[in-house]
């Protein structure tokens, strides 16, 4: 810590930051553009000019760029100095010379950093009387809209896109006044993080295209803190809604997880909420046809079903903890299924067990960024957990940071550190069956069948800790690779081993855990991370239940009379033959879901559930962090939260049919969580993931609209001119209107939008942090269920290595090993109901090792019949394997599996 004097006032500050950060942390309003907490400083925009004085006697001082000047002991600076003010005013006047008169028709207006900074600088009249430079725009695909005239050339976009996210199809072109940021030619931005340009760009050059179609100003939207439901990483988001429809998803800062960046699937995957596939009324089969029925009719029908025989409940790994638990309470533990196949369930439960037993560290995404040796074992993290992949991408920079530290270059001095880093070797090692997007930055990649990779993993564990079981019959090449990787990992101070469930291989996860545990003997910081498939996979693994196979056995035995399926499309888990069996043997299937999935066609009763933006609930991410999402939309009846539906069903029952004592009395989400804590002590802390519904600041609820939300007295007047009270819910501490408390110090889990006086853009975030890039002022969001304390206890017990090492993969004649080709856009269920994601996903192809395809279309024989697929050669894919897009070819896709592959007979006719 050190002290600097800003305009005559002393402020304690950190010594490893720059003056701009120090000024912002001190609460000063200093305009800036090119600096970004995650991107560092380049001094491109010249906007943050301040005056620095060499000592108390120095009256003249000199103008410096705050973002390029490190904090020095007792530095004396002035922001208010007239010369510095004039300087900043001239800079912004120059920037605005070519800026079009667009604000009324610009999607950034009202939350524009350029507007904020222009007002802050005091520039309000254009003196420039000459013509403005213009640019042609590009079509950048379904996510991002391009309007180049608004550019101020701060270079944030290319620095984010190329340097930070690793993209290569956005660049700066031309020179001086004409500088242009775009692609070489029109086309979709290919990087998985292109949507962040919307938030990174301080002006309206890059705006959110799906949001533009339903555009509303920031001040008019209700915000709610939420959690992304499109993968298991659990990125924090803000959902924005107006007129009870979801408008957009924004990034919400969580210092441990997503920080400033969200992947495109998370940002644009919310479209399923407003899609025509939404279920909005109960549906019941009457005379063989599904027809909308009133809620009372549906409840009577269910009560009738429940009296007839056994009720079995199938939960889902994409449903909230509360929904799953209420179903558990309704049907009882013996009849509760997790809705996963045995393979999925065993893998998820194994992941939980391995993380709990791991003697080292369980790093957060932010901690992964500082890992100095990373080994990825059989998981394409860029597709299954994109934000985690981005963190691993950042870990590659660790070496450059150490070099910079040695050279006494501050880490935020971006250009210099990157120049130094160009010489540094990568610290990322990837062993996967198929090539991944991270391969380009990896020091070493190796592609083999999942079992072979697991064997390599076990061998590495043995190399590190000789007490781990050895692997025999390694080829000399593999042995050398194992020795090399073990050496690298042992030399690291913060090694990290990552794997996951993508290939459904228990051996891969065991091997990963063995390496991490072996490393943890000598390096306590050795990290383990396992990627799970769905947003609540971990929560469900902690609850446990029957697998789908067990349910199928019971169904075939005729023991199930009614099946309640909550937010689960069983056709994605069960083969068509099994689904047909289930429909044939179970008389009543009740589906409670928000989207019309193929399973709904078979349901005798369908109930409309609230989607994530319309209810409150808790999700447990893959690292065991319970996080609460809140509703931004108050859906019209009969749509309601999952646990409320199940409670409604229970209330309609005759008490003698099902013993559902506790369930009926729950009044709010907090009561559900309290009951959950009693039933599942391991999940008890989930109640503390966010403050409860009775949380108040100064006796007030928290407002979820800005103070300047408009249209209060008219927005509903086409329905009724009488004013209605704003909707309310006992589950949240939020008021649904603009009334209530809002301050930068409010709990981190309850930040519903970022706005502070003079800061209307997302850059207002710096007012919510004590230290920029540090934790939120109001404390962390979410709570870790797998606490480090638990790990300390297990450290006393020695880690027992599994001896269950798989045999090497031996190719068989006439069949290939089909592996899932998980895709960022296309493999995930809900996001594929979102129009922009649908547009972005590409047609399924069959990936085969290069030079092995005999024709350009081949027929793959899966359980549900033959599929003709265009062949895409995948260089590096191991021999006798094929990559088939998960859930896109066969809807239920179990893997790894052997399948017959043959030439497509109609080949000659096609051309």
């Amino acid at each position: 810590m050190t002290t600097i004097r800003i305009d005559g006032r002393d402020w304690p500050t950190r010594s490893d930051i720059n003056l701009l950060q120090a000024c912002l942390e001190a609460g000063a309003n200093l305009p800036y553009f090119c600096w970004h907490p995650e991107l560092g400083s380049v001094g491109a925009c010249r906007q943050c000019a301040i005056k620095q004085f060499s000592g108390p006697e120095d009256r003249k001082g000199r103008i410096v760029m705050a973002c390029m000047t490190p904090v020095s002991e007792n530095a004396i600076i002035s922001i208010d100095d007239p010369e510095a003010r004039d300087f900043r005013a001239s800079v912004i006047e120059w920037m605005m010379v070519n800026h079009p008169y667009d604000c009324p028709v610009c999607e950034e207006g009202g939350e524009c950093h350029l507007q904020d900074m222009t007002v802050m600088t005091g520039h309000n009249t254009r003196r420039y009387r000459f013509t403005k430079r213009t640019h042609r725009n590009q079509d950048l695909g379904p996510f991002v809209k391009h309007e180049m005239n608004r550019c101020i050339a701060c270079y944030r976009c290319v620095r984010f896109y190329r340097d930070y996210a690793g993209g290569d199809d956005l660049a700066a072109f031309a020179s001086h006044d004409n500088v242009y940021f775009g692609r070489a030619e029109d086309g979709t931005l290919q990087n998985a993080f292109s949507g962040n340009l919307v938030e990174i760009c301080p002006t309206g050059v890059f705006t959110d295209k799906p949001f533009s179609a339903v555009y509303t100003r920031k001040w008019d939207m209700r915000g709610a803190p939420s959690v992304c439901v499109h993968c298991a990483v659990g990125c924090n988001t803000i959902v924005n809604a107006r007129e009870e429809t979801l408008r957009r998803v924004l990034n919400r800062y969580n210092t441990d997880i997503n920080r400033y960046v969200l992947c495109d699937r998370g940002r644009f995957g919310h479209g399923f909420v407003n899609a025509p596939t939404r279920i909005r009324t109960p549906l019941r089969i009457i005379d063989g046809q599904q027809v909308p029925v009133p809620t009372a009719d549906a409840l009577t029908a269910f009560a009738h079903m429940a009296t007839k025989g056994r009720v079995v409940g199938i939960a889902s790994s994409r449903a909230a903890l509360e929904t799953c638990f209420s179903l558990w309470a309704l049907v009882g533990a013996k009849h509760f299924s997790t809705g996963q196949t045995r393979q999925e369930q065993e893998c998820a439960e194994l992941a939980h067990a391995l993380l709990t037993r791991h003697p080292g560290a369980l790093p957060t995404l932010h901690e992964m960024e500082s890992a100095d040796a990373v080994l990825v074992l059989g998981e394409d993290v860029c597709a299954t957990a994109p934000r985690l992949g981005l963190s691993l991408h950042q870990s590659v920079r660790q070496a450059s940071f150490h070099t910079a530290d040695n050279a006494k270059v501050p880490r935020w001095m971006d250009a210099a550190v990157r120049t130094l880093g160009s010489e540094c070797p990568s610290t990322l090692h990837i062993l996967t069956p198929a090539p991944t997007d991270l391969d380009s930055v990896a020091a070493e990649t190796f592609h083999a069948a999942p079992d072979d990779i697991a064997r390599l993993g076990f061998a590495i564990a043995h190399e590190i800790d000789p007490s781990a079981p050895p692997v025999t019959d390694l080829t000399p090449d593999d042995a050398a690779r194992v020795a090399r990787l073990a050496q690298t990992l042992m030399a690291a101070r913060k090694p990290l081993i990552v794997s996951g469930m993508q290939y459904g291989s228990r051996a891969l996860m065991q091997a990963t855990s063995s390496i991490a545990a072996a490393l943890a003997r000598t390096t306590p910081a050795a990290g383990l991370s396992l990627v799970l498939p769905e947003c609540n996979s971990m929560g469900l693994a902690m609850m446990g239940g029957l697998s789908l196979e067990t349910v199928m056995e019971q169904a075939r035995a005729g023991e199930i009379f009614t099946l309640i399926v909550v937010e689960n499309d069983l056709t994605r888990h069960l083969d068509p033959a099994d689904v047909a069996d289930l429909v044939a043997t179970v008389p009543n299937i009740v589906v409670i879901d928000h989207t019309m999935t193929p399973l709904c066609q078979h349901a005798s009763l369908v109930l409309p559930i609230a989607a994530f933006s319309e209810c409150n609930g808790t999700l447990v991410n893959q690292e065991g962090r319970a996080q609460r999402f809140f509703q931004a939309v108050f859906p019209p009846a009969p749509i309601q939260a999952g646990w409320r539906w199940i409670q409604t069903l229970a209330r309609g029952l005759d008490p003698s049919t099902l013993p559902v004592t506790g369930l009926i009395g729950w009044g709010s989400l907090d009561a559900v969580l309290a009951a959950l804590a009693t039933a599942f002590p391991g999940l008890a802390p989930a109640a503390m993931a966010a403050p409860g519904g009775d949380y108040r600041i100064n006796g007030e609820k928290l407002r979820s609209q800005t103070y300047r939300a408009s249209g209060r007295t008219v927005i509903r007047s086409f329905v009724s001119v009488r004013d209605q009270p704003p909707p309310a819910s006992p589950d949240t501490p939020f008021s649904s209107s603009m009334e209530g408390a809002y301050e930068p110090d409010m709990p981190g889990a309850l930040v519903s939008f970022y706005q502070t006086p003079a800061w209307n853009s997302v850059q207002a975030l710096n007012r919510f942090q004590f230290e920029i890039g540090g934790p939120l002022r109001g404390g962390p969001s979410g709570i870790c269920l797998l606490s480090p304390a638990e790990n300390k206890n297990t450290q006393a017990r020695p880690y027992t290595y599994t001896t269950d090492i798989p045999p090497p993969y031996v190719p068989q004649a006439n069949v290939v090993l089909v592996l899932p080709d998980t895709r960022l856009f296309g493999s995930e269920e809900l996001s594929m109901f979102s129009p922009p994601i649908m547009e972005r996903s590409s047609a399924p192809t069959l990936g085969l090792p290069a030079n092995t395809a005999t024709s350009d279309r081949m027929m793959l024989h899966l359980e549900d019949g033959p599929h003709v697929l265009p062949v895409k050669p995948v260089p590096g894919l191991p021999a006798d394997t094929a990559l088939c897009p998960a859930h896109m070819v066969a809807r239920a896709f179990r893997f790894p599996r052997m399948a017959r592959l043959e030439d497509f007979p109609g080949e000659g006719e096609r051309t």
């Binding site: 079009p100 009324p104 042609r136 008219v714 001119v721």
Partner: protein, 170 residues
């Protein structure tokens, strides 16, 4: 005594003054063009809707009686709906001041009495007039940077044609 007589005289003299009472509605008062009465939405000189759905009128409205939703055709922004609840409107004219396109204007018409409040909820078709209102020559899209049908990029007032990025000239 004198004061009483004086008062009577003065009162009697008023009988010969000009009458202040206006025989409304037979006799209409003069209202200046900038009188703040019923709100209308005007059109461009070329007959297109002026409102670009920027929401500034709605946010300026102190009684929150304006609501609208943006939609877009060929680059031009429009309100999908535009609703004013005149039973709440206080005719302050802030919306007119906030409007960057002169679309929303207050007119010298105040005769808006209704028996039922729902009749005071005006939709876009009730508000939109066919003329330019008080500002006959102004068209927002002539000065804004975005292209619309009939106006190419770089063809707005005080704009240069688009930069040729393939040119090597400085």
């Amino acid at each position: 005594m004198f004061n009483t007589l004086r008062t009577l005289l003065l009162t009697a003299l008023h009988a010969f003054h000009r009458r202040a009472t206006v025989q409304y509605p037979e006799q209409q008062p003069y209202l200046p063009p900038r009188y703040r009465g019923r709100i209308i939405l005007s059109r461009d000189p070329d007959g297109m809707e002026r409102c670009v759905a920027c929401n500034l009128c709605a946010v300026a409205c102190p009684v929150d009686c304006i609501s609208l939703q943006k939609t877009e055709t060929d680059g031009r922004w429009y309100p999908e709906y535009f609703r004013i609840n005149f039973s709440r409107c206080i005719f302050c004219g802030f919306c007119e001041e906030a409007c960057p396109t002169y679309a929303i204007q207050l007119t010298p018409d105040f005769e808006m009495g209704e028996y039922a409040r729902p009749n005071l909820v005006y939709e876009k078709e009730d508000l939109l007039i066919s003329g330019t209102g008080k500002y006959p020559d102004y068209s927002f899209y002539n000065v804004a940077g975005i292209p619309i049908p009939g106006k190419a990029r770089g063809a707005s007032e005080r704009e240069r044609p688009p930069v040729d990025l393939h040119s090597l000239l400085p």
